[in-house]
C-alpha cells in the first residue's frame, strides 16, 4: 500500500469517525435532555383523551391543531423556558379550565392520535383528578357553606358531593365537606378555577399525582358482603368480655343531648 493511499485512508477514517462520533454524541445528548425535559409539571393538564404521558410524547408532533380546535382558548402550547415539554399542549385549570365540549373538538383535530379518538363521551375523559388539598383553608372545612366548587362541578353530586360531618369544634353544627370521587371526576378544573380563596384549596393534578392505589389483593368486606348477600365467613360467635362481669353495662341512652338552638 502506498504512502498516499494510507494517508487518504487515515483522513477518511478520521472524518468518518468524527461524523459518526459527533452525531452519536449529539443524539445521546438530545435523548438524555428529552428524558429530563419530559417531566410534566403538577399544574399542567393534558387535553381530554391524551394518551398516558410516556405514550403521549411518542405521538404528539406539537402542531397545535388541538389548540386551534379549542373554542375557549383553554389549551396552550408549552414555550421553551416553561416547565412543560416545549410545544406540547396543556392547560392550567386555575387560568382557563376545560369546558367539556360534547363534540370534543380538540380530540377530533389531533392528526396523530396523541389525543385518542376512542374518547367520544367527554364524561369519560380523565384529564386529571381534583383533590381538596388544603383542609386548613377550605371554607367548608371551617364550617361555612361556601360550596362553590360543588356548585360549579359539571358532574355535580357525582364527581363532587357534600359529605355531612359533625363539627366537633362547635359540637352543634354540621360541616358539609366537598368530597371528590375519582370514578366521575374528569379533571376539567372548574372547581379549582372557581375556588374563592386567593390560592385554591381544591386543585386538579394529573391522575398519577392525585390518585393512590390499593394493593390488588385487597377486598373490602362490606362490598363483598353486599355482592354475596351475606358474610362470606358465616355468623360470628359472640364472645363474653372476661374480667368485666362486675362492672355495670354502659347506659343505652341516646347520644342527643336534647339541646336545641
Amino acid at each position: 500500500m502506498s504512502a498516499f493511499s494510507s494517508l487518504a485512508r487515515r483522513q477518511f477514517l478520521n472524518r468518518f469517525a468524527g461524523a459518526v462520533g459527533g452525531a452519536a454524541l449529539l443524539s445521546l445528548g438530545v435523548g438524555l435532555y428529552a428524558g429530563q425535559a419530559s417531566a410534566l409539571p403538577a399544574q399542567a393538564l393534558r387535553p381530554p383523551g391524551a394518551l398516558a404521558e410516556s405514550d403521549f410524547l411518542a405521538a404528539c408532533v406539537r402542531c397545535g391543531l388541538c389548540v386551534r380546535g379549542c373554542p375557549y382558548h383553554t389549551l396552550k402550547l408549552g414555550e421553551l423556558g416553561q416547565a412543560v415539554a416545549t410545544g406540547t399542549p396543556y392547560f392550567a385549570a386555575r387560568t382557563i379550565p376545560c369546558e367539556m365540549c360534547e363534540d370534543i373538538p380538540c380530540v377530533r383535530a389531533c392528526p396523530t392520535g396523541a389525543l385518542d379518538r376512542q374518547l367520544t363521551d367527554i364524561g369519560k375523559s380523565r384529564m386529571g383528578l381534583a383533590a381538596l388539598v388544603d383542609h386548613e383553608s377550605c371554607l367548608n372545612f371551617l364550617g361555612l357553606r361556601c360550596d362553590v366548587c360543588y356548585r360549579v362541578c359539571p358532574v355535580i353530586d357525582k364527581a363532587i358531593s357534600l359529605e355531612n360531618i359533625h363539627n366537633q369544634r362547635s359540637d352543634r353544627h354540621a360541616m358539609l365537606l366537598p368530597t371528590v370521587h375519582s370514578e366521575y371526576c374528569t379533571g376539567c378544573g372548574k372547581c379549582e378555577k372557581s375556588c374563592v380563596l386567593p390560592e385554591a384549596a381544591i386543585k386538579v393534578y394529573p391522575l398519577k399525582l392525585a390518585k393512590g392505589q390499593l394493593p390488588e389483593h385487597y377486598r373490602k368486606g362490606w362490598e363483598e358482603k353486599a355482592r354475596h348477600g351475606g358474610s362470606l365467613i358465616g355468623e360470628q360467635i359472640e364472645l363474653p368480655v372476661r374480667g368485666m362481669e362486675d362492672r355495670p353495662s354502659p347506659p343505652k341512652a341516646p347520644l342527643d343531648s336534647g339541646w336545641k338552638p
Binding site: 461524523a19 452525531a23 438530545v30 425535559a37 408532533v61 396552550k76 392520535g113
Partner: protein, 292 residues
C-alpha cells in the same frame, strides 16, 4: 457576490465577449422569489392567529389547509413510529403528500423555499461574507445522516419524539405562531454558530430534517442544470454563494450530465442569480435525459 472589478472581459468560445452589465450582476430574482415563498408560507400560517383568517391551521410539524388538506413533516412521522406509536391516517397521509411533493420538486426544496431557519442561516452566511470571516470548524457534511440515524435510535430507546425537544426549525416556526418563550436564544445560537464557528454549519452539516429531505429528493425531477457550462469562465461566484458548494462541480466541470444531481442541492437558484454568464437554469431530468 461581487468580488473584484465591476466589469469583466470574459472569453467565450475563443471570441471576446461583451463586458458584463453591472446591473445584471446584482440580479436576485430567485432570491426574491424564495424570500417571497418563505415569508408567504409563514404569512399563511400567521393570518389565522393574527387576523382570524384561517387558511392554514397548525405549523410545519403538521397542518390542516382549508380544513381538508393534511400536511405532516415526514421526519416526525418516522420518529413517532420509531418511538413506538403508529400515527392516525391523517398524519401518515399528510407525510405522504409532503414526501410526494418533494419527490417531484426536488432535493431539499423545503430547505430553501419553506424553512424559516433558512432566512437566519442565509443571514449569517451573508454577514460572514461581508465581515470576511474565514475558517472556523465545521463538522463533516455527512454528520447530518448519522445524526438522522442516531436520533431515530434515540426515539426507539426513549420511546418519545426526541428531536422535537430541541429542533430549532419547528421551535422557530411554532414560536412565531404560538409563542416563542426563550426559543429566540436557540435561533440566536444557530445564527452565531453559522457566523462564527462553521460556515453553513447548521443547514449544510447538521440539520437532520434537511438530511431526510435530501434523501427523499434524490430522484426528484426538478433540478438546476449547468446548461451552458461551456460558457463558464471560472469566476467561482457560484461556488462562493452556494450553500452546498460541493454539489456544483460534477455538473459544471464534469463531462456527464449538466444536471446537479447531488441530493444536497437545495434548488435555491442562487447560482442562477449570481452567474454573469447565465450558465445555470432550472431544468428537469426529462429535458436533460439524453443531453449528457
Amino acid at each position: 457576490m461581487n468580488s473584484g472589478s465591476q466589469t469583466r472581459v470574459v472569453t467565450v468560445g475563443g471570441s471576446p465577449a461583451p463586458t458584463v452589465d453591472v446591473a445584471r450582476r446584482y440580479r436576485s430574482k430567485w432570491l426574491l422569489l424564495r424570500r417571497l415563498s418563505q415569508l408567504g408560507i409563514l404569512g399563511l400560517f400567521l393570518i389565522g392567529p393574527w387576523f382570524g383568517i384561517w387558511i392554514i391551521k397548525g405549523n410545519l410539524s403538521s397542518s390542516l389547509t382549508l380544513d381538508v388538506l393534511p400536511l405532516t413533516d415526514p421526519f416526525l412521522v418516522l420518529q413517532s413510529m420509531a418511538a413506538g406509536h403508529l400515527p392516525y391516517l391523517d398524519a401518515i397521509v399528510g407525510a405522504a403528500i409532503v414526501a410526494g411533493v418533494y419527490l417531484v420538486f426536488g432535493s431539499r426544496v423545503f430547505c430553501s423555499w419553506v424553512c424559516p431557519v433558512n432566512i437566519v442561516t442565509d443571514g449569517a452566511a451573508a454577514l460572514r461574507r461581508r465581515l470576511g470571516i474565514k475558517g472556523g470548524r465545521a463538522p463533516a457534511a455527512t454528520t447530518r445522516y448519522w445524526l438522522l440515524l442516531g436520533l431515530l435510535a434515540a426515539c426507539l430507546a426513549t420511546g418519545s419524539i426526541v428531536w422535537e425537544f430541541v429542533n430549532p426549525v419547528s421551535m422557530l416556526h411554532r414560536g412565531l405562531i404560538f409563542g416563542m418563550g426563550t426559543a429566540w436564544l436557540v435561533v440566536l445560537g444557530i445564527f452565531a454558530y453559522d457566523l462564527l464557528i462553521a460556515s453553513r454549519g447548521w443547514c449544510g452539516h447538521l440539520c437532520p430534517m434537511g438530511a431526510l429531505y435530501g434523501l427523499l429528493g434524490r430522484a426528484a425531477l426538478l433540478r438546476v442544470a449547468a446548461a451552458r457550462r461551456s460558457a463558464c469562465n471560472d469566476c467561482l461566484d457560484c461556488f462562493a454563494i452556494c450553500p452546498e458548494p460541493q454539489v456544483i462541480r460534477a455538473a459544471l466541470k464534469g463531462s456527464g450530465t449538466p444536471l446537479i444531481l447531488d441530493a444536497n442541492c437545495t434548488n435555491c437558484g442562487r447560482c442562477i442569480d449570481v452567474c454573469s454568464l447565465d450558465v445555470f437554469c432550472f431544468s428537469n431530468r426529462l429535458t436533460h435525459r439524453f443531453s449528457s
